[in-house]
C-alpha cells in the first residue's frame, strides 16, 4: 500500500508536469522569436521572473550579467536546475551545486522553455544498464580525473574555479556535463554515447564505493593520508611515549639512587 501510494504521488506531478510541458511547447509562442510568452505558460512565467534579469527576456543574454542560452539546450537547463546551480545569487559567482529550487513540474517547464530558445542539445539518454564500467574507468582517468580527481572528490582548477565533487551526480547529469561543458568544464565532443554511458557507470561505481568517505579522508589522496599519519598515528604514539617515560608517582628523590656496580 505504502509503496503504491508513494509511486502514485510521484507519478502524479510527473504526469501533470509532462502535460504542462507538452502544452507549453505547443501553445507558447516560439521563445526564440522574442515575443512575450503567453500567459499561463509556467516555463515562460518562471523564466521571466527568475532568469531574465541575467539571461534577458528573450534568453539571449545580457551584456555583463549572463550569457545567451541559445547553445545551451534542454541538457544544460536540466543540469543547472536539477543540481541547484541556477538561479545564481549574483552573476559573478561560480555556479555550484546547491539545493534544488524548483518543483519537478517547474523544472520540466523551464527546461522545455529554454530548450526552445536555441539549438542546444536535448537531455541525453544515459543508459548505464549495459555499460562497461572498466572502459568507463579508463576514460574517466584519461578525461575526467585531471580535474575531478581519481576518487571523484573534485579539486581546484586554477583561477579560483573548482571542479566539483561527483558524489551526488546522477548518470544523466554526468552525460549532460560531458555534452555541454557547464561552468569551467570543456565539452568532450569526441566521446560517443557509449563512452558517456561507460563513464556515468564508473562515476556510479565510485559513489557505490563511497570513495570520498571518512575512512578515505574525503578521497583527497596522499596529502590527507600524510596528515592522518601525523594526527592519528604519530600524535597518539607521542602521547604513549609521554606515558611510558613519565616518572613514577610518589618516588623518593634521585640522590637516593643506588650506587652499587657503577663501573659502566
Amino acid at each position: 500500500m505504502r509503496g503504491g501510494g508513494a509511486r502514485l504521488l510521484l507519478i502524479a506531478p510527473l504526469a501533470a508536469a509532462g502535460i504542462t510541458a507538452a502544452v507549453s511547447l505547443a501553445s507558447a509562442a516560439p521563445p526564440g522569436g522574442g515575443a512575450p510568452a503567453a500567459s499561463g505558460d509556467l516555463g515562460a512565467e518562471l523564466f521571466a521572473l527568475q532568469c531574465s534579469s541575467c539571461h534577458g527576456l528573450d534568453g539571449r543574454g545580457v551584456e555583463g550579467l549572463g550569457p545567451t542560452l541559445e547553445p545551451e539546450g534542454e541538457a544544460s537547463a536540466d543540469f543547472v536546475l536539477r543540481t541547484g546551480r541556477m538561479p545564481l545569487a549574483a552573476p559573478d559567482l561560480q555556479a555550484q551545486r546547491g539545493p534544488v529550487r524548483y518543483s519537478e513540474e517547474e523544472i520540466l517547464a523551464l527546461v522545455a522553455y529554454v530548450g526552445a530558445i536555441g539549438d542546444g542539445p536535448p537531455i541525453p539518454v544515459v543508459d548505464i544498464a549495459g555499460a562497461d564500467v572498466a572502459t568507463g574507468g579508463e576514460l574517466y582517468r584519461l578525461n575526467c580525473a585531471a580535474c575531478h580527481v581519481a576518487s571523484g572528490a573534485g579539486a581546484p582548477i586554477g583561477g579560483g574555479r573548482v571542479a566539483p565533487s561527483l558524489e551526488q551526480s546522477t548518470a544523466t547529469q554526468v552525460g549532460e556535463a560531458i555534452l555541454i561543458g557547464p561552468g569551467s568544464m570543456p565539452v568532450f565532443g569526441a566521446l560517443t554515447e557509449a563512452d558517456i554511458a561507460d563513464i556515468a557507470a564508473y562515476v556510479g561505481e565510485l559513489q557505490d564505493q563511497n570513495t570520498t568517505g571518512p575512512t578515505r579522508f574525503g578521497g583527497a589522496g596522499p596529502a590527507a593520508e600524510g596528515l592522518a599519519a601525523w594526527l592519528l598515528a604519530l600524535l597518539p604514539l607521542v602521547a604513549l611515549t609521554r606515558w611510558i617515560g613519565r616518572p613514577k608517582e610518589g618516588r623518593d628523590h634521585p640522590l637516593a639512587a643506588e650506587q652499587a656496580g657503577e663501573a659502566r
Binding site: R141, L142, A146, R216, A229, W230, I244, D252
Partner: protein
C-alpha cells in the same frame, strides 16, 4: 612453585653453555645493568626503529606476492571496474594483494602507514636531537649516520611508492625522470641509464624492486646497527638535573625496567599502525588505475615526506638560465639545488655550530631549547621554511579545503618562504631569551624543600617528591647552595642510603 626452580635452571644452563663457548659473560652482565636515562623524547628514535620492524615484517610478506615487472597482462582479478584492462604485472600483483589475498590489503595498508609513521618518527627524533644540542661532539658522527638513515628512508619510501605502477607511481617517476634529465652535462645519458631508455621504458619497476627490498633495507640495517652501537658505546645523553653530570648517566637499568617499557612500545607502535591499516584506506591504487602517460589526476601528491620536494617544484618561480646554447632548467633549482641545500645544511649542522660557538668540548648533558636561543631560533626558522615547502606541495588541497584560488595560495606561500623564517627566528629567539633569563613560575624554576638526614646526607620528603622529579632542568646553582659543592659532585659523593626508602 616447585616447577619454577628447574625452569630457571634451564635459562641459566643455556646462558652458561653459550658464554662458556664464546665468553662475554661479563659483557652481558654490564649490558643488562646498563643505565638508560628516562625522558619521553628519548623514545622517539625507538618509534622509528619499531616502525621499521613493522616495515620489514609486512614488507617481507608483500614480496611473496609482488611481481616487479612491467610486462603487460590483462587484469582478471575480482575487482570488477578493472577487469579486462591491460595493466602491468606489477600493478596486477598489487591488485591481487589488495583484493584477492585474504588479509593482503591489511598487510599492504600497514606497510604504507608504517612508512609514513617511520618517516614522521625520524623527523621527530631529528628535531629532538637538534634542539637539545645532542648534535654536538662526540655525537656529531652519529648525527651524520642518522641523516644518512633519513636519506635512505626517503629513498625507501619513494621506491616503494613507485612500485605498484599505478597512476600516482608513474606520475612520481615521470617527475623523477624530468629531474634527472635536467642535470647539467649528464642528464640525458643518466636518465637513459636509470630508466633504460626514453620514458617510460619497460625496466624501471624491475630495477626499483631489488633496490627497494634489498639494497636500501640492507643499508638501513647496517647503518642502524652502527647508529645504535654508537649510542650504546657513547651512552645516551641526559637532561640537566639533580645528580646528573657530564660524567654519569642517571636513569633506569636496561634490564628489566627499560627493556620492558621499550618492548611495550614496540607492541604499541605495531598496534597503532595495525589499527590504521585496519580502519583507514591508504593509496587506493584501484582508483588511480594502471599508469597511463596520458592520464592525470588532480590532488596528485607524493607521500608526505617527499612533500618538501614537491613544494619546491610547485613554488619555485618560473626561472631558467641560459648559458651559451645550454639551459639550466627551473627543475635544476627547485628539484636539485633546494634539496641539496636542505640536506647539505643538515649535514653541516655540527660544523656550523662549532664555528659559531667555538665550542669543541664533549657534551653529554643536553640543553633545554631555551638554553641555546640561537640554535633553537635557527632550527625554528629552518623548520618554518621547510614547512612552507611542505604546504606548497599540497597547495591544491589547501585551496580546495579553504575554497580559495590555487594561485593565491601559491603567492602567499612564496612570500611566506622568504618572510616567515626570519620572523620565526626572531620570535623564537626572543621567547628563549625571555624564558631563560626571567625567573618565572615555570616548573623548572620551582624550589623543592630538602631535608638534612642524620648522617649528613640530603633527602627530599615524600610530599615534595613529584616536584623534585619534574624539576629536571633546575639550575645547577640551586643545588650548589645546598651541597656547597655543586649538584654534580654532591650527588656522587653522598650515597645517602637511608633515603632509598622506595626500593628494598
Amino acid at each position: 612453585m616447585a616447577g619454577r626452580a628447574p625452569r630457571r635452571g634451564l635459562v641459566e644452563r643455556y646462558v652458561d653453555s653459550v658464554t662458556g663457548r664464546v665468553g662475554g659473560g661479563s659483557w652481558l652482565t654490564t649490558s643488562l645493568r646498563k643505565v638508560f636515562p628516562s625522558h619521553f623524547s628519548f623514545l622517539w628514535g625507538e618509534l622509528a626503529l619499531y616502525s621499521f620492524v613493522v616495515l620489514l615484517l609486512t614488507g617481507t610478506y608483500l614480496t611473496f606476492f609482488f611481481e616487479g615487472s612491467q610486462e603487460i597482462v590483462v587484469y582478471q582479478g575480482s575487482y570488477e571496474p578493472l577487469q579486462g584492462q591491460e595493466v602491468s604485472a606489477a600493478f596486477d600483483s598489487v591488485m591481487r594483494i589488495s583484493h584477492d589475498v585474504k588479509g593482503g590489503l591489511l598487510i599492504r595498508q600497514m606497510h604504507h602507514w608504517a612508512a609514513l609513521v617511520f618517516m614522521g618518527a625520524i623527523a621527530l627524533h631529528l628535531g629532538r636531537i637538534f634542539f637539545t644540542g645532542a648534535v654536538r661532539r662526540p655525537r656529531d658522527i652519529n648525527w651524520m649516520i642518522g641523516l644518512t638513515l633519513l636519506v635512505l628512508g626517503l629513498a625507501a619510501g619513494f621506491t616503494g611508492y613507485s612500485l605498484p605502477d599505478d597512476l600516482l607511481s608513474g606520475t612520481g617517476l615521470r617527475i623523477t625522470y624530468a629531474i634527472v634529465l635536467a642535470i647539467p652535462f649528464v642528464g640525458e645519458r643518466l636518465a637513459y641509464l636509470v630508466f633504460g631508455g626514453e620514458w617510460p621504458g619497460t625496466d624501471i619497476i624491475g630495477r626499483l624492486y631489488p633496490v627497494h627490498i634489498l639494497l636500501i633495507p640492507g643499508l638501513i640495517i647496517g647503518l642502524l646497527s652502527l647508529h645504535l652501537g654508537l649510542v650504546w658505546r657513547q651512552k645516551h645523553t641526559q637532561f640537566r638535573g639533580p645528580g646528573r653530570t657530564e660524567d654519569n648517566v642517571v636513569g633506569e637499568r636496561v634490564w628489566p625496567s627499560f627493556a620492558m617499557k621499550s618492548t611495550g612500545l614496540l607492541f604499541l607502535t605495531a598496534g597503532v599502525i595495525t589499527a590504521m591499516g585496519a580502519i583507514f584506506e591508504i593509496n587506493a591504487i584501484w582508483l588511480y588505475g594502471p599508469y597511463d602517460a596520458a592520464a592525470a589526476t588532480s590532488l596528485s601528491q607524493p607521500d608526505w615526506y617527499i612533500g618538501f620536494l614537491e613544494g619546491s617544484l610547485r613554488l619555485f618561480p618560473p626561472w631558467e638560465t641560459r648559458v651559451g646554447g645550454f639551459v639550466i632548467n627551473n627543475i635544476v633549482y627547485s628539484g636539485i639545488l633546494v634539496p641539496t641545500l636542505i640536506f647539505g645544511g643538515l649535514y653541516a649542522v655540527p660544523t656550523i655550530e662549532r664555528r659559531l660557538t667555538g665550542d669543541t668540548a664533549d657534551h653529554h648533558l643536553l640543553d633545554r631549547p631555551r638554553d641555546a636561543p640561537n640554535r633553537t631560533a635557527i632550527g625554528a626558522a629552518s623548520i618554518t621554511a621547510v614547512s612552507v615547502l611542505f604546504l606548497g606541495g599540497a597547495q591544491d588541497v589547501i585551496a580546495k579545503t579553504l575554497e580559495v584560488s590555487v594561485g593565491h595560495v601559491t603567492s602567499v606561500l612564496q612570500v611566506s618562504f622568504l618572510v616567515a623564517p626570519p620572523i620565526a627566528f626572531y620570535a623564537t629567539r626572543r621567547t628563549c631569551v625571555a624564558l631563560r633569563d626571567r625567573p618565572g613560575p615555570e616548573r623548572t624554576e620551582r624550589r623543592v624543600p630538602v631535608e638534612r638526614t642524620a648522617d649528613g646526607g640530603y633527602r627530599v620528603p615524600a610530599s615534595a617528591a613529584e616536584d623534585w622529579m619534574t624539576a629536571g632542568g633546575a639550575a645547577p646553582g640551586h643545588f650548589d647552595a645546598i651541597t656547597g659543592e655543586g649538584a654534580v659532585r654532591g650527588a656522587r659523593s653522598e650515597p645517602a642510603e637511608d633515603a632509598e626508602a622506595g626500593a628494598p
